[in-house]
Amino acid sequence: MTACIEIALKQSLGDAEASSLVKKADSYFKIHIESARTIHMLTIESDLKTQDLERIRQEIFTNPVTQVSSLSPLKIDFHWCIWIGLRPGVKDNPGATAIEAVEDLLGRSFGPDEGIYTSKRYCLSGESLTRSQVETLAKELLSNPIIQQFKIFSKSDWHPETGANVKPARVILDHTPCFDFIDIDSDQTLARISDQRNLALNPRDIPVIRQYFLDPEVAAQRQAVGLSGPTDVELEYISQARSDHCNHNTFNGIFRYTDILTREETIEHSLFKTYIQQPTLALKEKKDWVVSVLWDNAGVGAFDEHNNYVITGETHNSPSNMEAYGGAITGIVGVYRDPMGTGLGSKLFMGSFGFCVGDVNYDGPLKPPLHPRRLLNGVIEGVRDGGNKSGVPTTFGQTLFDPGYMGKSLVFVTALGIMPKQVKGRPSHEKKTSPGDLIIMSGGRVGKDGIHGVTASSESYSENTPAGHVQIGDPYTQKKMHDFLLECRDEGLIRFITDNGGGGLSSSIGESAMISNGCVVYLDKVPLKYPGLDMWEIWVSESQERMTIAIDPKDLDRFMSLSRQHAVESTVIGEYTDTGKLHITFQGKTCAYVDMDLLDKGFPAWEFDAVWLPPAVRGLTEPVIRKPEDFNGLMTAMLARPNICSKEWILRQYDHEVQGGSVIKPLVGVNRNIPSDASVTRPVLTGNKGLAFSQTLLPWYSKIDAYHMMTCTIDEAVRRLIAVGGSMDHLGGVDNFCWPDIGYDEKTNPDGRFKAAQLVRACRALKDACMAYEIPLLSGKDSMYVDGHLEGAFGERIKVSALETVQFSATSVVEDILHCQTLEPKSAGDFVYVAGITADELGGSEYYDLFGKIGANVPQVNFGANRVLYRAVEKAMDLEMPASCHAVGRGGLGVHLALMTMAGRLGMEIDLSQVPAAAKTLSDDALLFSESAGRLILTVPPDRKPVFDKLAKGLPFRCVGGVTDAHDRLKITGVRNDIIVDLPCADLDKAFNKLFGEMI
């Protein structure tokens, strides 16, 4: 029997969701809705008696103060009604909690044929509304066909008794689970099957795979367990393990690098080994705070005497690009499992985001899967719900706009955890699986969702990209699991733990079984969301919120009892062995039996040609721009630019204080609306140590040279840390590469070789910067293929590639948080200093971009000089000399002086002729807007000036002006001693908030 409860807010109360719909319909589509109301619906498929239905309606689902509800359609008038529901199989989180609540209240359990499904309908009033307008709203604003379905009712379509007539969105597969043998009679056959089944096997791997299965010895062993040729389960396992996402084939590939100008020719054998692993291992030797790197789900560094911190960063680009909310929430919830699965498990204490999207006001002919505006809203909300509901503060975040990200948007998510150094006398960062350990899967259940996620993210977006890999993360289930696993850890029950992310069980068990050297897995034991999944699907499904754990059989009872207490589902699904075999069975029958070392059987490295065309060869030159006359106008135009302006509305939606350790917040200043250089958090509340965290994205410099993009990005990340009180003694890094396709193809990727050379150069820069600043790479990930083929006005498909992008995250341990500093000037009478040299480095700058120019003089980092300078600033901060400190970044001194003025609400008077400059000839616009690396702005109180000057002696620190309370203006005197900028705070504010100021 199916029943439906409809719930709405009382008419007298404001319906914020409906108001937002009215507003967006008007501003996005010029569709005028007079009024709207939202109705929440619960479709209940169960044989509950009417009195029980009434009871749950009243006691659980209706708030007597605010809501009205009914078991029949609510009589709310409309001209049009849009019903939106999830497609069967899409994760319905409120549906699941509804079942939990009903079961608890009524004291009965739902059977497999029962369920509760949530949906909504919107009642729209407006005489002038047409069906096609309403369809536009349903399609372009309220639903995404990948996960949702909709129905539209006019007044005359509507039947007052049946209403929206919603059917339960139950998945019925009607399929008997099985496994298949795959024909491998020739390379061509296997290649064809790979295409048909979406295995994404690399053509080079195919002969190796065939060779293995055709090996007589292998065949004989397989015969003994009842297998002949490879099964679909086995090929899926190989496909997942060999995917670029899991195996990092690009970073482990061979690059033939040629510099077209110098004729330099180099063979790079593995970018990973040469530029990431080697320097990190060398630095690990030098830095005793580096605890564990390069093998686990996240890197581990020492925090204090008793605790280590854990960090990793991820992207979730492809899914977010198609279903922004689902992709982003899955991304953040997914990256949060990495610290949970690092060592014996850590407690999450902070996260961050980075969004790169196209122009939110784009109105050109290209049709991305989601308009950038809609996409941005979706990813903001996804990371918000995922982060907030995980109880983890989001202390830092950046949002960038560039047309290249319309091909594929980027969603970066970063997670940090904290764990005691010792758990029951064992080092917490060590873990292993041993023969006899039980394999346990905890958390969510397995469904069809997320199948082939990793292979899809190893491809460019096209109209054929399967949508089945889009999921909706479930932070509630994961939070319960997080609390449960930490208790298990503290009781010493966990021997090994890892998360089920890309590749699902195939990856988590496949990799962890390499330690014990074998496993046997009973796939029929894996709890499923609904019956009918084939074995390979169970094995590779990426259904979320699951961890794989190894425990000693003697601990099973205790583990299960804690699991029940926390209302987390845990199931023994196999056992680790030392047989050397990955052995998978289903109802007693073997469906996979391969050697654990199969993946070492000589799979060939990927190969790339990389051809570097230096900027001059590409015809890049400096634009010719004569001195502007209206610097006030210029300053306000710069502040209003999308990549500079305020994004307060985004940051405010993120809980950045939960867990009670907030020291330096993402927004600072008197009005608490200026983005901070970095965040500082106390992960251990009983101490005064802090963890400073910054992130930087400067993809624009890749337009000139990705080498300098990388060095500038890292330099800024370090500089931001120094500005809040971080130390050069402890710098940890996480690199997240997002790169367009680098595989050359004359037709489909003609500039692949250049992009490959950019990658090589970025990696070289990564090593140079990390060695210079002594930054071990605690973690890192790469996400290739950030390209899209977008449909244009005439049905053509145009390839749009993202800029070569690296997000660099940096950490530092702050010994005493009371020495931390913020960027706003704090007292009138303080002196303003600029540290670091400004050069004519406007190439790739925001200033040039204002005029649609790129230029050639990209900022170059002088590591040696900066190191000395940063050390000096660090010392000054230790001695509490500066009253504020700010890293100069995108937009140069002009923009950053304005940010400080707005933050401090005090006047600033600056003389550009005093700015330390590389040449005396630098023009006012160059001094204001050059983006030279290595610069900071500090304010110093008069009584500390003498000591500060002494400390800064011989270094490029110059007093350039002062802070005043005589006015609240930013006054800048140019090199010719004329006042070129004179703007009150109010004007700066207005410009800074022009674009997004109305968003709350």
Binding site: V65, A101, S390, W649, D655, E657, G660, L685
Partner: protein, 274 residues
């Protein structure tokens, strides 16, 4: 010495339990983080404690109204224990999601000592979004609330999507008449915000940020006092430090107003029960 024992609920998506426990500890109590299921299955007995804290978080994902399912579950399984706890004159504090749960159980506002009736609600913010922001609060000196004794004002962060306090006019009048309105959102000068955003961050009627029951023993508030457990939690701390420095004073680690709120509760138990 006899310990003041504080029980902090955990599990099912609650998430401020660690810092709430720390706040109680700094206030001199002994905190116990207890899973809701341990109260439900009787492993832990509520009567063994003096203070019960419903902390912040997203219980059951806030899926069917913030704090709703938590309230139903607790009422259903330990409703009597809760009423007994109240009868014994013990203290209950509900913060954010905990406040939402308290109004959904009916423990607040407890008008006419009816602790089962839902007569007020906390609903979606007028701004339409989840919002993290520090707010100024003005405390009602006429209120019987145990936790805010001697307090005039306080700054705490709010972090919620559903924080708008609403009730029928007669309920609001009764709350005011009984001194049950404890905290109101205020402007920088300490006067009630008069509904002005962002001082009143959610559109709460009468700027209400926190209420108590008629006895003052049960207290619910949207802002998070436990998130102000250290001087460096306050957004203005670097500026205050600089100011003090300018005046030749040290910026020390004095007790925060957040901890004082918990301290009031602990002191009250000491006076009453020991």
């Amino acid at each position: 010495m006899t310990q003041v024992k504080a029980l902090i609920l955990t599990g099912f998506g609650l998430n401020c339990d660690h810092e709430t426990a720390l706040a109680f500890e700094l206030a001199g109590a002994r905190p116990y983080r207890v899973h809701i299921n341990s109260l439900v299955d009787g492993t832990v007995n509520l009567a063994d404690f003096h203070i019960l804290a419903f902390g912040g978080g997203f219980s059951w994902g806030d899926d069917h109204g913030a704090g709703v399912i938590q309230a139903v579950k607790l009422k259903n399984h330990i409703g009597k224990d809760l009423l007994g706890f109240v009868d014994a004159g013990k203290l209950i504090i509900g913060i954010c999601n905990g406040f939402q749960a308290l109004v959904n159980t009916g423990l607040l506002p407890g008008l006419d000592k009816d602790y089962t009736r839902r007569s007020v609600a906390i609903t979606y913010n007028d701004c339409g979004n989840f919002r993290d922001q520090w707010v100024h609060l003005t405390a009602n000196s006429e209120s019987p609330c145990v936790f805010t004794k001697g307090m005039e004002k306080a700054d705490f962060p709010v972090r919620h999507g559903e924080g708008k306090f609403i009730a029928e006019p007669d309920v609001l009048t009764a709350l005011q008449a009984n001194g049950q309105v404890v905290f109101q959102y205020a402007d920088a000068t300490g006067s009630p915000a008069g509904g002005a955003f962002p001082f009143n961050p959610n559109g709460s009627l009468h700027d209400i940020a926190g209420i108590c029951d008629p006895t003052g023993n049960i207290f619910g508030l949207m802002p998070h006092p436990e998130a102000y457990n250290h001087v460096t939690n306050h957004p203005d701390w670097p500026r205050r430090k600089q100011q003090l420095k300018g005046e030749g004073q040290a910026f020390g680690e004095q007790e925060t107003i957040g901890i004082r709120l918990f301290q009031n509760g602990v002191d009250h138990i000491r006076e009453r029960f020991f």
